[in-house]
C-alpha cells in the first residue's frame, strides 16, 4: 500500500468537515437564495439526503473492497480498460474541482483583503503550504484538522450569537409561500456540496477503526446539515429574501457586527479562521488527486508527484479554469450540481449495483458447482 499512515474515523470526520463546509460557507447561501429566497433554510435539509446516500454507497463499496480506493476498485468492477478510463475521468474531475476551489479562494481573498496582490502569489503560497501537508501524508492532514476544525466549527455559531440583536425572525415568514418547488430548486447546489463526502473513499482504506467509519460519516453529514441551516437562517434573519444579492452573504453579515463600537471589523478574524478551513479543503482534494494518480499509474510512492501537481494546480487555478469569477459562479450554479452528482454519487451507485450483482452471480455459480 502506498500510504502508511493511519488515522481514526473521528479524524476522518474532522478532515471532511471543512472539505465540504469551507467553500459552502462562501457561496452556497447566495446560490440557494436565488431560488428559494426566504425558504432557503429548507434546502440544506433536502440536500443532505444526497449526502446520506453518497456515504451509504461508498461505505458499502468500501466493505466489498476494504483496502482499495475508487480508482482501484473501478478496475475490478467494470474491467481493466473501462476502469482506467473512469479513473482518468475521476482524476481530471479532482484536478478541475481543485483548481476551481483555488480560484474561489483567491478571488475571495483578493476581493476582501489583498486587492493589489496578483492571484498567482495568493494561489502559489497556498499550494506550497498544502503541498508540504500532502507530502506529510494522511496523518499530517488528520492532525492539522484536529487543530483547526474545532475553531472553524464554532464560526457560524459565534457569528449567530454576536448578530443576535440585529435579527428579525419575521423575515422568515411566510414559510413556503410558493410551495415546495423553490426550496427543491435551491437544494440543487447544497446537494452537490454534500456529494463531496465522496472523498471519504480516499480515506476509508487508511482508517485504524473501520467499523466506526459509517457512524462518523453519518454524524458528519448531520453536523454539516445543521451548520448549513444555521448559516442560511442567519442570512434570512438579517437580509430577508434579498440575501441572494450578495456573493458572499455570511461574510457580509459578519461585517455588520458592531457591539458597543468595541467589537468591529470582525471579518479579519473570521477570514483568518476560514483560511485554515480552506487549507484543509485544498489539501484534501490535492491529496486525493495525488494518491489517485499514483494508484492509477501503480506507482510505489506518491511523494515525487506532489510538487509537479502543485505546479499544475497553480497554473490551472490562476487562469485556465475560468476567465472571470462571474463565469465561474454561473458554472457552479447551473452545471456543477449535475457534473458533481453524476461523478460523485451516480457512478459510485452504478458501481455498487454491478458489484452486488456480480457477487450474487458468483455465489449462485458456487452453489451450482457444489
Amino acid at each position: 500500500m502506498i500510504e502508511k499512515g493511519k488515522i481514526s474515523s473521528f479524524q476522518m470526520a474532522l478532515i471532511m468537515y471543512p472539505t465540504i463546509e469551507a467553500t459552502a460557507l462562501l457561496t452556497v447561501p447566495g446560490i440557494t437564495g436565488t431560488y428559494a429566497e426566504r425558504d432557503m433554510w429548507i434546502s440544506p435539509i433536502l440536500g443532505s439526503i444526497n449526502g446520506f446516500f453518497t456515504v451509504f454507497i461508498l461505505y458499502q463499496l468500501h466493505k466489498l473492497y476494504p483496502k482499495e480506493t475508487i480508482i482501484q476498485y473501478s478496475e475490478h468492477i467494470v474491467g481493466r480498460v473501462l476502469g482506467k478510463i473512469l479513473g482518468f475521468i475521476y482524476l481530471f474531475f479532482l484536478l478541475h474541482i481543485g483548481s476551481i476551489i483555488l480560484r474561489e479562494y483567491s478571488t475571495f481573498v483578493s476581493v476582501s483583503f489583498l486587492q493589489t496582490t496578483p492571484p498567482s502569489v495568493i494561489i502559489g503560497g497556498m499550494v506550497l503550504v498544502c503541498a508540504f501537508a500532502v507530502r506529510g501524508g494522511i496523518e499530517v492532514l488528520g492532525r492539522t484538522a484536529n487543530l483547526f476544525v474545532p475553531i472553524l466549527f464554532l464560526l457560524p455559531i459565534i457569528a449567530a450569537i454576536l448578530l443576535l440583536k440585529d435579527f428579525d425572525p419575521k423575515h422568515m415568514l411566510p414559510i413556503m409561500e410558493h410551495g415546495m418547488m423553490p426550496s427543491v430548486m435551491g437544494a440543487a447546489a447544497p446537494q452537490a456540496w454534500f456529494g463531496e463526502t465522496f472523498l471519504i473513499t480516499m480515506i476509508l482504506p487508511f482508517l485504524s477503526d473501520r467499523d466506526k467509519g459509517m457512524k462518523w460519516s453519518l454524524i458528519l453529514v448531520v453536523t454539516i446539515m445543521v451548520n448549513f441551516v444555521i448559516t442560511n437562517l442567519l442570512a434570512v434573519f438579517l437580509f430577508g429574501g434579498t440575501a441572494s444579492g450578495y456573493t458572499f452573504p455570511l461574510f457580509t453579515a459578519i461585517r455588520y457586527i458592531t457591539i458597543s463600537t468595541f467589537f468591529e471589523h470582525l471579518e479579519s478574524v473570521t477570514i483568518a479562521i476560514w483560511i485554515t478551513g480552506i487549507f484543509i479543503k485544498i489539501s484534501m482534494f490535492y491529496y486525493a488527486l495525488v494518491i489517485g494518480t499514483s494508484q492509477w499509474l501503480k506507482l510505489s510512492d506518491y511523494r515525487p508527484i506532489v510538487f509537479p501537481f502543485g505546479f499544475l494546480l497553480t497554473v490551472l487555478g490562476c487562469q485556465w479554469v475560468a476567465p472571470n469569477f462571474e463565469e465561474l459562479n454561473h458554472f457552479l450554479v447551473t452545471i456543477y450540481p449535475f457534473y458533481g452528482s453524476l461523478l460523485m454519487t451516480l457512478i459510485p451507485a452504478l458501481f455498487l449495483l454491478i458489484a452486488v450483482i456480480r457477487k450474487k452471480k458468483r455465489k449462485k455459480n458456487f452453489v451450482k458447482n457444489m
Binding site: 436565488t34 431560488y35 481530471f92 478541475h96 476551481i100 430548486m185 440543487a188 494518480t293 499514483s294 499509474l297 501503480k298 506507482l299 510505489s300 510512492d301 511523494r303 515525487p304 508527484i305 510538487f307 509537479p308 501537481f309 505546479f311 499544475l312 497553480t314 497554473v315 490551472l316 487562469q319 485556465w320 479554469v321 475560468a322 476567465p323 463565469e327 465561474l328 458554472f331 450554479v333 447551473t334 452545471i335 450540481p337 449535475f338 457534473y339
Partner: protein
C-alpha cells in the same frame, strides 16, 4: 520554477524508481507547457467551458429566467 522543482525532488528518487521518474517528468512537463501556452494565448478555452458544453441541456433546467 520548474528547475527548482526538479533540483529539489530528483536526488530523493532512488535509482530503481523508473516509473516515478517518468510520471514526475510528464506531469511537470504538462504544467510547464500549459503555463507557456497560457502566456501566449491567455484566452484559451479551459476545462470549465468544455464541461459546460457537455452539460448545457441539463444546466438549462436551473437557469433563472
Amino acid at each position: 520554477m520548474v528547475v527548482l522543482l526538479i533540483l529539489y525532488e530528483w536526488p530523493k528518487m532512488g535509482q530503481h524508481q523508473k516509473k516515478e521518474k517518468t510520471a514526475f517528468v510528464t506531469i511537470t512537463a504538462m504544467g510547464w507547457l500549459l503555463a507557456i501556452l497560457l502566456l501566449f494565448f491567455p484566452d484559451l478555452q479551459g476545462p470549465t467551458q468544455m464541461i459546460e458544453q457537455l452539460f448545457k441541456p441539463l444546466g438549462k433546467m436551473l437557469e433563472k429566467n
